[in-house]
């Protein structure tokens, strides 16, 4: 029989892990309470400055609307595509799986260089507006996460039976997709959406190089001049990711898989 008690080496490793992960967060919290006059703890001045900064509201609103737009476009594009591939063209599944790996080889820093170049001649309502260029780029960025979530969702239901049952009752393709398939993959679609939210709310590389003012670029801007406010914003950003991941866990009722790791570094 093996021992069932907590092994001493496990305790040591867990303490090291806790220290490494928690110290930066606690330090940031303490840092955000420092006062700009005395450089000492504790005041909430940094937080009140942020709430009264209209740029804060403007950028966080832009990032939030952008993430909603990205989610909407992604769902509209990928739900029917993945459905059709699973139903009629299963031989194309590896192709989609391979395409979902492409963003690993083409990270944001390469993607933005390529896309800025590609869309250079595009009309300015698209190229110069965050809701055009940035949202399109984020759809590409979110594709793997959306795809893996939807793929798992479609695999777990009996697509053919559901489709046939719905059609033999006289439903059109649209009705089948909206009222039969969608409710069954709701959890997968929500999972992909929360990941997309976390990605877009934290994406800096593309927004900064295409000179849009989103929430992460605002943090960087504050970072350069007001350290204590930047600490408060960093914590807020951490809380947004927490919220998105907790929501993901709640709807998924399961563990996080490696495919659920978003790329915003």
């Amino acid at each position: 029989m093996r021992r069932r008690r907590l092994a001493p080496s496990a305790v040591v490793w867990l303490l090291v892990a806790a220290a490494f992960f928690l110290i930066p967060l606690l330090a940031t919290l303490l840092f955000s309470f420092r006062s700009i006059q005395t450089n000492r703890c504790c005041t909430g001045a940094a937080y009140s400055l942020i709430v009264h900064d209209h740029q804060f509201w403007q950028t966080i609103r832009l990032s939030f609307v952008l993430s909603l737009e990205t989610i909407a476009i992604s769902l509209l594009l990928f739900v029917p595509t993945v459905y059709w591939v699973h139903l009629k063209l299963p031989q194309l599944r590896p192709v989609l799986g391979f395409m979902a790996l492409v963003p690993f080889v083409v990270p944001p820093i390469i993607l933005v260089v390529g896309l800025l170049n590609l869309y250079k001649g595009a009309p300015s309502w698209f190229y110069d507006k965050p809701y055009g260029f940035l949202a399109t780029t984020y759809v590409i960025l979110a594709f793997p996460y959306m795809y893996f979530a939807l793929d798992a969702g479609f695999r777990s239901i009996d697509l053919h039976t559901l489709t046939e049952a719905s059609q033999s009752l006289g439903a059109s393709w649209g009705t089948t997709l909206l009222r039969v398939i969608l409710p069954n993959i709701r959890v997968a679609a929500l999972g992909g959406s929360f990941l997309t939210l976390a990605i877009v709310m934290g994406e800096f590389t593309i927004a900064s190089l295409s000179t849009f003012k989103t929430f992460p670029t605002y943090i960087q801007f504050v970072n350069e001049t007001q350290p204590y406010e930047a600490a408060a914003l960093s914590l807020l950003s951490f809380l947004i990711v927490w919220a998105a991941m907790l929501a993901l866990l709640l709807v998924g009722r399961g563990r996080l898989r490696p495919a659920q790791v978003a790329a915003t570094r």
Partner: protein, 254 residues
């Protein structure tokens, strides 16, 4: 982008930019990028494996595992500017830990050659998303390491070391190598985190691309495209190595 890498400023075809990037100073930048990626991927693998094993092994209460994997999911996604700033607030010149060490322990790391705004600082910060990613990737593989194998090995008289040497490590090796490549790519392509910590202090390839592209005095989009093309080649090689490893490691997963 690939086409742009082979163009000159007037639109004609040239290999000039691509030839340029395999020479100094760009070669040094690639080397630094690769070095940092290798170090953080290596350290991330070892520490992530240790942390994951500590919660997966029997005897550790189940809820600790839930906490660690959930937290890893969040930490792996918490990167970029906010992460960079969290580390500056911790270990920067007036960071909380730095001032604590200076005032209470009488030890100033900045007088002993440490700085968050350099290579060590960037590496330390990268580990904050590398280790969680390793934990997420390797935990299912560790589950595949069945308790029966361990019992069988010890019934046959194998020591713990022999178990790891002849059973544990060989079974896990494809997963670990696959994870290493994933972590390498993860760190190699990171831009925002390094930018947030040390935009001017560290010459990494992504940072240089950013400088050449953002309309600075240095602006040279074709050179940036050539540099991006170089990154793409490195990552493509990694991907080609990754796919067969992924297939092999899937064999032992339940």
């Amino acid at each position: 982008m690939i086409v742009g890498a082979f163009k000159n400023a007037h639109g004609g075809a040239t290999t000039e930019h691509v030839r340029q990037i395999v020479h100094k100073p760009y070669l040094d930048e690639y080397w630094l990028s690769i070095k940092i990626s290798l170090i953080t991927a290596g350290a991330g693998c070892v520490l992530g494996l240790a942390f994951a094993y500590a919660v997966v092994r029997e005897g550790t209460p189940r809820f600790l595992r839930t906490i660690l994997t959930t937290f890893s999911g969040v930490a792996a996604n918490f990167a970029g500017i906010p992460l960079a700033f969290a580390f500056i607030a911790t270990l920067g010149t007036i960071g909380v830990v730095t001032t604590f060490m200076r005032d209470h322990l009488g030890f100033d790391p900045y007088e002993h050659g440490f700085t968050i705004f350099g290579q060590t600082g960037v590496e330390l910060t990268y580990l904050y998303f590398q280790i969680p990613l390793m934990i997420l990737v390797i935990a299912p593989a560790l589950d595949g390491l069945r308790a029966e194998w361990r019992e069988a090995a010890s019934n046959l008289g194998a020591s713990a070391w022999q178990f790891w040497r002849y059973v544990g490590i060989p079974v896990l090796l494809p997963s670990i190598l696959g994870a290493f490549i994933l972590l390498f790519g993860n760190s190699f392509s990171a831009y925002a985190t390094a930018y947030g910590i040390a935009a001017n202090g560290i010459a990494l390839v992504p940072i240089t691309i950013g400088f050449y592209y953002s309309g600075n005095v240095l602006s040279d989009p074709h050179l940036a495209q050539a540099l991006a093309f170089g990154m793409f080649v490195v990552l493509a090689v990694m991907m080609i190595l990754y796919v067969p490893l992924q297939r092999r490691s899937a064999r032992w997963m339940r």
